[in-house]
Symmetry: C2
Subunit: 155 residues, 2 copies
DNA sequence: TAAGATTGAGTCCTCAATCTTC
DNA sequence: GAAGATTGAGGACTCAATCTTA
């Protein structure tokens, strides 16, 4: 018996969720930092972060990890490659696949921006108590997993 | 003395936040529903929701409420107007301003889509306990306000 | 035929420039 | 000149079509 009644929680979340996403996206977009004259867009930085900390990987794996379309990742890799931060190489075991790895320069840029990036979140949550942060992180992760599972169902 | 140490909470939130936003945005985009042959994009529906439930308002007020650029709202209103869901009228007290209100058709479409829209969130959080939902809503709202305040500081 | 990757077309958004009215 | 709104240009993303290799 699937209830039709909607609790106040759902109403509140449903009404505010889209607006929250935009606000959060604006905040996140504002994190664009330029350490060495490089103006890394957040999408490119997230990808660089994944590549630099996780090691070389295929484009399809990267797209899955950062939750973007493969075509978008292909273009982002092109931009990072032009900036000399990553390198493409053909997978010798499967010539269809492309492996993307960070260059020394890419590793350096990642390491240097990491603290700037994270300090923005530190400042944002400066007034929160550790308990609040921990609880939020827990529920936040739970929601992330819930949405990911929900998306898989539709395939 | 501004501490340079970053707690694990910050690291975790910082690393996953961007990916979460994309996943959530994809989920939210998938809520696009077409009740009467109308294919309302989520941005347009959020705006219609605001107009239908809040009464006529200026474009600048709408843009502020839904957290979008004024130009985007102007185009969204144009789309909703073409669909016959909202109406533009000139503010008689200030001829520069445009007031946007919902038509009878717009009110009807809003009311009919509301449950569909909200039931998606009900399904999404079906496995959560009421306590978890309440706690998450609380912290979620807190974060929303925190980001909103953070954004204002930069003006 | 299918899988991996790239490229083209189209959408939604922001920023900047412009027009009208205060 | 400043405020409210519209329009043009450009960026980031998705979907669809294409090319190469398994």
């Amino acid at each position: 018996m699937r209830g039709k009644r909607l609790t106040d929680d759902h109403v509140e979340i449903g009404r505010q969720f889209g607006i929250f996403l935009r606000r959060a996206d604006r905040f996140y977009a504002s994190l664009r930092v330029a350490p060495d004259g490089l103006d890394l867009e957040r999408g490119a930085y997230i990808l660089l972060s994944r590549i630099a900390s996780g090691g070389p990987a295929r484009l399809s794996a990267l797209a899955d990890d950062v939750c973007l379309d493969l075509s978008t990742v292909s273009r982002q890799v092109g931009a990072l490659e032009s900036a000399g931060l990553v390198e493409r190489s053909t997978d010798t075991t499967d010539k269809r696949a492309v492996l993307v790895g960070a260059t020394a320069s890419g590793q350096e840029v990642f390491a240097r921006n990491r603290d700037l990036w994270l300090s923005a979140f530190r400042d944002l949550l400066a007034d929160w108590t550790p308990a609040e942060r921990a609880e939020f992180t827990r529920l936040f992760t739970r929601l992330n997993d819930t949405i990911a599972t929900s998306g898989q169902e539709k395939r």
